[in-house]
């Protein structure tokens, strides 16, 4: 395996892993996230815009995390305090994300062009640090969800927010925290797509559907921070290798690009039809309207 291929797979893995991890934390609190692909694209636009403005890819990544976190807080707030469809709100935010992503990213494409000089340095140090960081974040989140009061509160909100409220959990505050953490990870992970993995940004990035692949990764891994590691590696490796297949095996580029999506569908079926699906059940109240009579907002 060439070193470039290894770096590419690590980049793909880290990107997918962080997005799927953030998505999982958000959904663990019972909030359905259909905004994921739009927020992915918005985050890529913000990342390249800030990275090119400040000259620092790390600042670009953190800016993405902050903007995505803001979107997550807005979604969590309206989905919790209002009796509205999570699906409709998420989908509409997906479109807003596509539109805003273009507004942020287009000036970069127009006036800067290539962004490779503003991207992360290609070095063993970068990739090893990233790999270690993603593994560490997974372990920390696993510990947070399993062993801490906050984690138990997040899970309780996802399983039965009414019971959680009766037990004294502030569902709104808990979901806002889950959204802030989750969407920050989505934003940071998405920034790696243009600033580390692909090292370019284009309007058409939104047609890549990488957010939906991360959605599938999270679904198949049962939103479990540790199970996400091998699943993200599998899909990240597949996605990256598919691009290489076009060059090495002369497979038409469009056929190669469709492989991860077909694999995603296959993975969804396998997940649902086997014991994996039963072992890694989604939160019971995922996507359900949380309405209490006479709620104060």
């Amino acid at each position: 395996m060439s070193i470039d291929l290894l770096w590419g797979i690590i980049s793909a893995y880290a990107t997918l892993h962080l997005i799927a991890l953030g998505h999982s934390v958000f959904e663990k609190s019972g909030l359905l996230n259909l905004a994921i692909d739009g927020v992915f694209f918005l985050s890529t636009g913000v990342a390249v815009f800030v990275a090119c403005s400040t000259g620092s890819p790390l600042v670009g990544s953190f800016a993405s995390a902050v903007v995505a976190s803001g979107i997550g807080l807005l979604l969590a707030y309206v989905m919790t305090v209002l009796p509205i469809s999570h699906g409709a709100v998420g989908l509409s935010m997906m479109f807003i994300g596509y539109g805003l992503g273009i507004i942020f990213g287009y000036p970069v494409r127009m006036f800067v062009g290539g962004i490779a000089t503003y991207a992360y340095t290609i070095s063993a140090e970068t990739y090893v640090t990233l790999l270690a960081a993603t593994l560490l974040v997974s372990i920390v989140l696993h510990f947070l969800l399993k062993e801490t009061k906050l984690g138990i509160m997040i899970v309780a909100c996802g399983e039965n927010p009414a019971v959680a409220t009766a037990l004294g959990v502030d569902v709104l505050k808990t979901r806002l925290l889950a959204a802030a953490i989750g969407f920050a990870l989505i934003g940071f992970g998405s920034s790696l797509f243009p600033l580390l993995w692909q090292r370019y940004w284009d309007i058409r990035s939104y047609t890549l559907g990488l957010g939906w692949l991360a959605f599938t990764v999270a679904l198949v891994a049962g939103r479990h921070p540790l199970v996400l590691i091998p699943v993200s590696l599998l899909f990240g490796g597949l996605y990256h290798s598919c691009i290489l297949l076009t060059a090495t095996l002369r497979i038409p580029v469009d056929v190669a690009k469709s492989i991860p999506f077909i694999a995603a569908l296959a993975a969804m079926i396998i997940y649902s039809k086997t014991r994996i699906g039963k072992a890694l059940l989604p939160p019971t109240s995922l996507g359900k309207v949380f309405y209490r009579e006479e709620r104060a907002i």
């Binding site: 259909l34 692909d37 739009g38 309206v78 305090v81 209002l82 009796p83 509205i84 469809s85 699906g87 409709a88 709100v89 989908l91 509409s92 935010m93 997906m94 479109f95 807003i96 994300g97 596509y98 539109g99 805003l100 273009i102 507004i103 287009y106 000036p107 127009m110 309007i203 058409r204 939104y206 047609t207 890549l208 559907g209 939906w212 959605f215 599938t216 679904l219 038409p252 469009d254 056929v255 690009k257 469709s258 999506f261 077909i262 995603a264 569908l265 969804m268 079926i269 997940y271 649902s272 039809k273 309405y291 009579e293 006479e294 709620r295 104060a296 907002i297």
Partner: protein, 376 residues
């Protein structure tokens, strides 16, 4: 001061359509404010949006979105969210291009061939949507991510076909199919002289009337098919057992289950029926407007498959409001193009306005069943 949400005891004043109206107004204001942040003048944006409602070029969008709106209504009524119209739209073009452009460009009975290809386009759209229905029915996975992922698969399959087997011979180096032979196109040209003189005070009105008439005549076949689609969808939903079951699936699937009806089968049927009409729309789009496909295909349309979601939702899933909302959404799309946001074209300009209007609708829609009371 506290705001309290209560179940509505009296119906909303002005009925449910008022929510769609508020959503459009709020969405447009949000859109304009976002554009103001990118140094576009708020009032200029509003002026362009208002002007787009009278643009004759809107006819194409209204026809496409009306048909797609009805197509999506069939599945949305069953609470089966077909977000994959975009993919079904392109996949349905495969039999059309193969039969009319690649295989039989000179078939002696063009009318018959067009009818057959259109039917096959419908079947292709239905099959693609049915795939999502089958996955949902047998695995229980939500249809939204499935239909969305299938959109990407559809993009890549059709892109491959346009790049390789369907690539034309008379395309001057462009990556696209040959043009649809003239005898297969579905257009009628208005044989009426344009209004004169330009100095007349009535000229702008006459010119507008002429342009609208020209457009309606040009797409008259499509108009007939759109009206037929509306009637067929109305008939299915209002007069058939299938329609009753689809509506019951949307309102109370437990009732269907208790009645011993195979609910899974109706998920598949809802999506297949929806996909069929998406396919017919796709055929009309190709035969009446596009005439060919270019690579990459996802850049070709205005994202009609996604815009139609907006049409269906804003119509509150009511048949009679579909054409009205198709008109509104078509106008908003045209406004997006007229605004030339940061030099972008096609679907990119529509995405933000779709999002802001849909977001407003998603938030405000709860007001049809709930009310907010202010407590001191």
């Amino acid at each position: 001061m506290k705001f309290i949400i209560l179940k509505r005891k009296k119906p909303l004043k002005g009925g449910k359509p008022i929510i769609s109206l508020y959503s459009i107004v709020l969405g447009v204001i949000l859109f304009s404010l976002i554009l103001q942040a990118t140094s576009k003048n708020f009032l200029d944006v509003l002026r362009v949006i208002l002007m787009s409602f009278t643009s004759p070029s809107i006819v194409l969008d209204v026809l496409a979105l009306t048909m797609l709106g009805y197509a999506l209504l069939l599945s949305f009524k069953a609470a089966t969210w077909n977000i994959g119209a975009e993919g079904q739209f392109f996949v349905a073009m495969i039999p059309l291009i193969y039969l009319l452009i690649v295989k039989y460009p000179e078939f002696p009975l063009p009318g018959l061939m067009v009818a057959l290809a259109t039917l096959l386009a419908g079947i292709m759209g239905a099959s693609w949507a049915m795939l999502a229905g089958l996955i949902k029915a047998h695995t229980g996975v939500n249809e939204v991510p499935i239909t969305l992922i299938l959109n990407y698969v559809a993009y890549y399959i059709v892109n491959y076909l346009v790049y390789y087997p369907f690539r034309g011979r008379h395309v001057y180096g462009y990556t696209r199919t040959d043009e649809l032979p003239k005898h297969y196109t579905l257009n009628v040209y208005l044989k009426l002289s344009s209004p004169t003189p330009e100095s007349s005070p009535l000229y702008p009105v006459l010119r507008w009337a002429y342009d609208i008439t020209y457009q309606l005549t040009y797409y008259v076949y499509w108009l007939v098919v759109a009206i037929a689609t509306a009637l067929v969808v109305w008939f299915i939903l209002s007069k058939t057992t299938l329609g009753l079951r689809l509506r019951a699936l949307g309102h109370n699937p437990d009732f269907l289950l208790a009645s011993g009806i195979n609910v899974k089968k109706y998920y598949v049927i809802a999506l297949a029926a929806s996909g069929f009409f998406v396919g017919i729309t796709s055929a009309m789009y190709l035969l009446s407007y596009a005439k060919r496909l270019s690579y990459p295909i996802e850049a070709q349309t205005a994202g009609y498959g996604y815009l139609a979601i907006l049409v269906a939702w804003l119509s509150l899933l009511e048949l009679k409001y579909i054409p009205v909302m198709a008109y509104v959404v078509g106008a908003l799309r045209n406004a997006g193009i007229a605004l030339q946001i940061t030099g972008l074209g096609g679907i990119e300009q529509s995405l933000l306005i779709i999002g802001t209007v849909l977001f407003s609708y998603s938030i405000l829609s709860f007001l049809s069943e709930y009310e907010i009371k202010v407590m001191k």
